[in-house]
């Protein structure tokens, strides 16, 4: 169509028909970005039946005109949101549901989060964590009204009350957090438990592993911790892999206290009924300057993805892992190694006083800084 006929559709005699059509056919694209999607599904299922107001979820971006952003948008998802939005034909609309999409919600100071309003233009925000299906449908109704009338209108007018406040001196509360600055960390604290099988198992392990290990501790019922030198890690894995057939967790703990990483493999067994509840933690300490460790991927395939994740978050290199040095879980533009202790997040401010905000904030910052030191 040439530009003149587009003008006719937009503002000519056909305009009301076009508006009416758009109003009653707001089709959201399937872009379930986070957990609010559960309530979105409820809103379009038989309980609330969003289809009766003309909104029906559809799979393909090119044939839809509405994006409902459900909650948190991560750095990785932001790009997808933009591409999906760019694919949609005009007129297109964006509704954001959930507190995370509004100002970050629970995850406001997370390292992997962006605000959807920075990525695409947003018509309506629906607050809540998660908002109810009624809330979401009301958001769609508001958008319909906006399309029809061409402007925003409040659907509820609240009574206004004049608030008068007595001048009292406000004291900014001190944050309740107590964070030790450079604490000592020990992962194998022995615990006295009544566990006969465990004592037997520990003796068995001590015999089998000999002087490959530094110490074997019972850290609780069904929990055993083996402390290993990184040089012997592979040899210990070879001896344990027949008894324990899978890895449940790979964990790294950053210890600035002595400039090391503690790397833990939690292994367990599915084939031996007696060993099923037992978790054996293989803990090893590596230097932070050269955080390298042989990968145990060849002994336990199940450790593969967990190792890749730890590599992303801590920068510990697992030599021999097939994925190499690429990022797996995080977006390519995320700051490096966010879970190390020297990567600080933004701190919350507990109270704000608009009049003296600047000076008080500085004071508070100094106070907080003082607390830490």
């Amino acid at each position: 169509m040439d530009s003149r006929s587009i003008q006719v559709v937009r503002s000519g005699v056909l305009a009301p028909i076009k508006k009416w059509g758009t109003k009653w056919s707001l089709w959201p694209v399937h872009l379930v970005t986070a957990c609010c999607g559960a309530e979105l599904a409820h809103a379009f299922a038989s309980g609330y039946d969003g289809e009766r107001i003309g909104a029906l979820n559809y799979g393909i971006a090119r044939q839809t005109n509405l994006i409902i952003v459900e909650g948190a948008i991560t750095r990785k998802m932001a790009r997808v949101l933009r591409i999906t939005w760019e694919q949609m034909p005009e007129p297109r609309f964006v509704i954001v549901m959930g507190a995370c999409g509004l100002k970050g919600g629970l995850f406001w100071n997370g390292y992997h989060l962006v605000k959807p309003s920075d990525v695409v233009p947003v018509e309506y925000f629906i607050p809540g964590c998660p908002p109810t299906p009624e809330g979401l449908l009301r958001g769609i109704r508001s958008l319909q009204e906006k399309i029809w009338e061409g402007k925003n209108r409040n659907s509820i007018d609240f009574n206004k009350i004049e608030l008068a406040r007595k001048e009292i001196e406000r004291r900014i509360p001190t944050p309740p957090k107590i964070i030790a600055r450079n604490p000592f960390i020990k992962v194998d604290v022995p615990k006295d438990v009544d566990w006969a099988f465990g004592n037997r198992l520990v003796n068995e392990l001590k015999e089998g592993l000999g002087n490959l290990v530094e110490r074997i501790t019972i850290t609780g019922k069904n929990r055993i911790c083996i402390r290993v030198n990184p040089k012997n890690l592979q040899r210990v894995a070879v001896k344990l892999k027949d008894k324990f057939d899978h890895v449940k967790s790979v964990n790294v703990i950053d210890v600035p206290y002595d400039n090391t990483f503690i790397v833990e493999y939690v292994v367990s067994s599915y084939s031996n009924r007696e060993l099923m509840p037992v978790l054996v933690t293989i803990a090893t300490k590596i230097s932070k300057k050269n955080p390298k460790l042989p990968s145990l991927h060849s002994y336990w395939v199940s450790a593969d993805y967990l190792e890749r994740e730890m590599q992303d978050l801590f920068g510990v290199t697992f030599e021999g892992n097939p994925w190499g040095n690429r990022k797996f879980l995080l977006a390519p533009d995320t700051p490096d190694y966010p879970l190390r202790k020297d990567f600080k997040l933004e701190e919350e401010v507990y109270a704000r006083d608009e009049a003296t905000e600047g000076s008080k904030n500085e004071e508070q910052k100094q106070e907080q800084g003082g607390d830490k030191e």
Binding site: F107, M276, F328
Partner: protein, 423 residues
């Protein structure tokens, strides 16, 4: 499976250039891999991140004809940095944070974290609270299985199969609203018990609801579960043998569908599970349909557990007395934490060391490790390994050798929920 390959192939000599826009599209595979695939007359298909199912992740599928040779996952689209945030918040502030990975399964996700705190502090939970926690955990389990059944139906294009479980889920939400006040994110379980007592009238409602759910599930069975189309899509698709399932560390109902009798509720029993009569649901086939059936049977098992728990629930406190040691006597109420919440929980400190708990969440094993330095009232490090993250490897392996059209059915049969896997 590969009859197509045995047919005589026509070779057409059209030069195909491997795509070069890997970097701007952030596809996390090296260009050599793409070239290698194109040289061998194979193709790379990007499934997602925007795809017509629930939750978003990208799977890079390498296909030979339409048979999947390799599947490379690209997760992290819903990675909300929970482990880092937890290091910066009070122990008690982390409760709402840790139910966000899977909000339909909130009770189980809370339970794992809370039990780790209780184990480190040696808090004994009152019996009534244990039973109420069990009831909530099982309600969430049913809700999650129904959610996954609905999403499976969307994946294989069965709209009624989507509508029906969600109508049943409304009942679950109603039960949870009556018990806790929230449809999804209740944060109702606290260290030492639960926030407040649930009266017997509400428990009676929950019991009636279980019968109604059972009645409606019979209809659902006719409509979707025993539907020949469903069986045709899922049967013998995405098979994981017992050895494979163990090797790749698959968890939960998906492990049990491959014939491994492993359920944390039995293996390392917690709350009231060892006082109730129930059995582990197992299947031997390890295909998509048995993964679905195991979860369907678990729903009826859970309904039974709820009824038993409501029948046997003892009277008494719901908050442990140990917590009230340093609290003003006026606010002490072992049936309701309101009024004493901040006094009790603000300065919660865990002793030096590491505590690990296992929980059977709806989609499988959930592991929490809390490391404490013994001085701070925030955790030093929290490690969450969610079920989705653990069975992702098994999911990818089960795709190999299947047709591209079956990818959706296998995806649905695993009930893969990216917010849960990415945390």
């Amino acid at each position: 499976m590969r009859e197509a390959n045995e047919m005589k192939e026509l070779s057409i000599d059209v030069p195909v250039e491997p795509p070069t826009e890997l970097k701007p599209l952030f596809i996390p595979i090296p260009p050599e891999y793409v070239e290698d695939a194109y040289k061998k007359d194979e193709f790379l298909v990007l499934v997602g991140p925007q795809h017509p199912g629930s939750g978003h992740m990208r799977i890079i599928v390498r296909v030979d004809g339409d048979v999947i040779v390799e599947a490379i996952p690209d997760p992290g689209y819903v990675h909300r940095s929970m482990e880092k945030l937890a290091e910066n918040r009070l122990y008690i502030q982390n409760i709402p944070l840790f139910e966000r990975p899977a909000i339909m399964d909130n009770a189980n996700f809370n339970l794992g974290y809370i039990r780790a705190i209780e184990e480190a502090l040696d808090i004994e939970v009152p019996e009534r609270a244990k039973y109420l926690r069990t009831i909530m955990a099982e309600l969430c389990r049913i809700g999650t299985h129904l959610y996954d059944a609905a999403i499976l139906a969307v994946f294989i294009g069965h709209t009624t199969g989507f509508m029906y479980p969600f109508a049943v889920r409304e009942l679950i939400c109603e039960c949870l609203v009556k018990m806790t006040g929230a449809r999804f994110t209740s944060s109702f379980i606290i260290p030492g018990g639960i926030r407040r007592d649930v009266d017997n009238g509400i428990l009676n409602f929950v019991k009636k609801a279980t019968f109604e759910i059972e009645r409606r599930l019979k209809n659902f069975e006719k409509i979707f579960i025993k539907n020949p189309a469903t069986i045709a899509r899922l049967k013998d698709v995405g098979v994981l043998t017992k050895q494979e399932a163990i090797k790749y560390g698959v968890v939960g109902p998906f492990l049990r569908a491959s014939g491994v009798e492993y359920d944390v509720r039995k293996v390392e029993s917690y709350e009231a599970y060892d006082e109730l009569d129930w059995e582990i649901v197992v299947a031997d086939e390890g295909d998509g349909y048995s993964r679905f059936l195991v979860r369907v049977n678990e729903i009826s098992q859970s309904l039974d557990i709820i009824r038993q728990a409501i029948g046997r629930i003892p009277e008494g406190d719901v908050i442990s007395q140990d917590l009230f040691e340093n609290v003003n006597a006026n606010t002490k109420n072992p049936k309701d934490i309101r009024g004493a919440f901040y006094d009790v929980f603000t300065n919660l400190k865990l002793p030096l060391g590491e505590t690990t708990t296992l929980t059977e969440a709806a989609r499988g094993l959930l592991l929490y490790t809390i490391v404490s330095d013994g001085e701070s009232n925030v955790p030093y490090r929290v490690r969450i390994v969610s079920p989705g993250w653990l069975y992702l490897r098994g999911f990818m392996e089960s795709l190999k050798g299947e047709r591209l059209a079956d990818l959706q059915a296998i995806y649905g049969s695993f009930g893969y929920f990216p917010p849960e896997a990415d945390r």
